[in-house]
Subunit: 310 residues, 2 copies
């Protein structure tokens, strides 16, 4: 499957009907996942805060995990070393374990096992498959939002010239993408970073307003190499954040390329922004003549780790 086909298939995943079942006694939630597979948890934790949500992206679950914890372990391949270790830990601690995966060891574990119907995508192209069960389970998405998001993604599939022109500006000058998001799209900024890394094989850096006003601000004004940066800044719904964006741009003398998400709701805007970033990183890969799909070094690392006892 060509990588651009994966992009076009993104919208089809919105039809996912699976839903995480939330046990009645749930007091807190832990989502275990790495990289592209960890993204679903990151997005969910920005959209839901009815219970404490803890994102685990190492080998260990936090101490507080108990029989009233819902642990959701997500790995598209089902074989991610860290996620498997954390899933085992969840059972040891008598937590309720839900797994989301396409195959592999993880798909054979869990009190609830959500199996993604296709295993031939890159993990970073499978976000809706991994995320919809969370959104459905916590009633965070309506049928209207599903169908509106589908239309927005479809329109981008048909016309992504704006994304291509960003990629041109970026690659022609050998610039480093810097992506600045804000709540509830911080995780989307992080996903752009992952996609520039893996799809375009480029360095990339993500941060968020208002936190970045407490650190990056000084650096982007006065550092050496600052002219190497290409800024993508997500427009916000919040006046105060847009005040900050405007002032930061002025004070630091930076050129911010503002990305305005289309869509009527947070969910729709989130899917639009995700897809927009996929296209920018895809065009950047084409311009750099690198294969947008494969990540041979990560595979090599996984192989090396497999051959080394833990």
């Amino acid at each position: 499957m060509e990588f651009v086909e994966e992009l076009r298939f993104f919208k089809e995943q919105l039809g996912t009907k699976e839903r995480v079942e939330v046990p009645e006694n749930t007091k807190n939630i832990v989502i275990a996942g790495m990289g592209g597979s960890g993204l679903a948890g990151k997005i969910f934790s920005e959209l839901y805060s009815g219970l404490p949500v803890y994102l685990a992206d190492g080998y260990e679950l936090p101490e507080f995990v108990s029989d009233s914890t819902l642990v959701i372990a997500i790995s598209y391949s089902g074989n991610t070393e860290e996620t498997l270790t954390m899933a085992k830990d969840a059972k040891k601690k008598n937590a309720h374990l839900v797994t989301i995966s396409s195959r592999g060891e993880l798909s054979e574990q869990g009190d609830q096992r959500i199996k993604v119907p296709r295993s031939d995508l890159q993990p970073r192209s499978s976000t809706p498959y991994l995320l919809l069960p969370l959104l459905n389970g916590f009633n965070l998405i309506s049928p209207a939002e599903v169908s509106n998001s589908y239309k927005l993604l479809d329109a981008l599939d048909k016309d992504s010239k704006e994304c291509e022109s960003h990629a041109n500006a970026l690659v022609n000058e050998s610039l480093i993408p810097v992506i600045y998001g804000s709540t509830p799209y911080r995780s989307v900024a992080y996903q752009w970073k992952i996609q520039f890394n893996e799809t375009s094989k480029l360095l990339a850096y993500a941060n968020s307003f208002p936190e970045l006003n407490h650190n990056d601000t000084t650096a982007i004004a006065t550092s050496y190499k600052k002219e190497d940066l290409y800024f993508f800044v997500f427009d916000s719904e919040t006046k105060r954040i847009n005040d900050r964006i405007r002032m930061t741009q002025e004070i630091t003398g930076s050129k911010f390329n503002i990305v305005r998400p289309k869509g009527a709701s947070r969910i729709e805007k989130m899917f639009y922004l995700l897809h927009y970033g996929s296209y920018v990183s895809y065009y950047a890969a084409k311009l750099r003549r690198v294969d947008p799909a494969s990540v041979p070094l990560i595979e090599k690392l996984k192989k090396g780790l497999k051959d080394t006892p833990m």
Copy 2:
């Protein structure tokens, strides 16, 4: 006060006896803080996971906050816009509010008010003042660790040549510092980034093992501008993480400058690493002939925001 005096004063703050009082009915913890003042919460959340800890670094507290939530609002100046807004939200939601600040509006709020004895430091130089009340309150530090940490910091105050030589290598070649940490020192890697930004006025980037193996790895091998990076990688106590560090270095053909923390415990190593980074960024500022203390652009931004209605 010269900035280097602030560094030497760091160890003196270890004598802080204040302790956050934890109400018996506490079910979860929210720590509200931005930038350098947010760091104490970040470090705490890596060392303690007995209850869910949520880090809030925007304008809003999560929905789950209730009368069984302990909210700890930290702002060295006591006047951080975001933190004040979150502290107000905490009272609205009947949470138990503890404030940690040196002065300002925040110091006049809270069921428990912890006042830091000096208000003339840079927030990023006041970490022990802000952190010790958390470590003491949750019994995460022993008197022996306090005295050993003091000795380790004092030794660095007397001999920081190694830090100076890193700064030389970095600034002489106009390189960008990239700091790779791992649990429980991810937040320390982030603090190094803040210090390079604010003290050295340099771009900087932090990430952590194993998460970075799912994104950065491809980029640091094949991106343009990769030769502009200078890697600081914290040695880990975990064999599996050190396997990853070694393999990542090999596979990507990068030169990792391994920083080996001194100290007998996690706490001691954490303080050592923090202080080590302060010196590297301090020497980098001196080499760049910038004032290590002041952050005029952040002040300008704060002023601009103050003059703009919310």
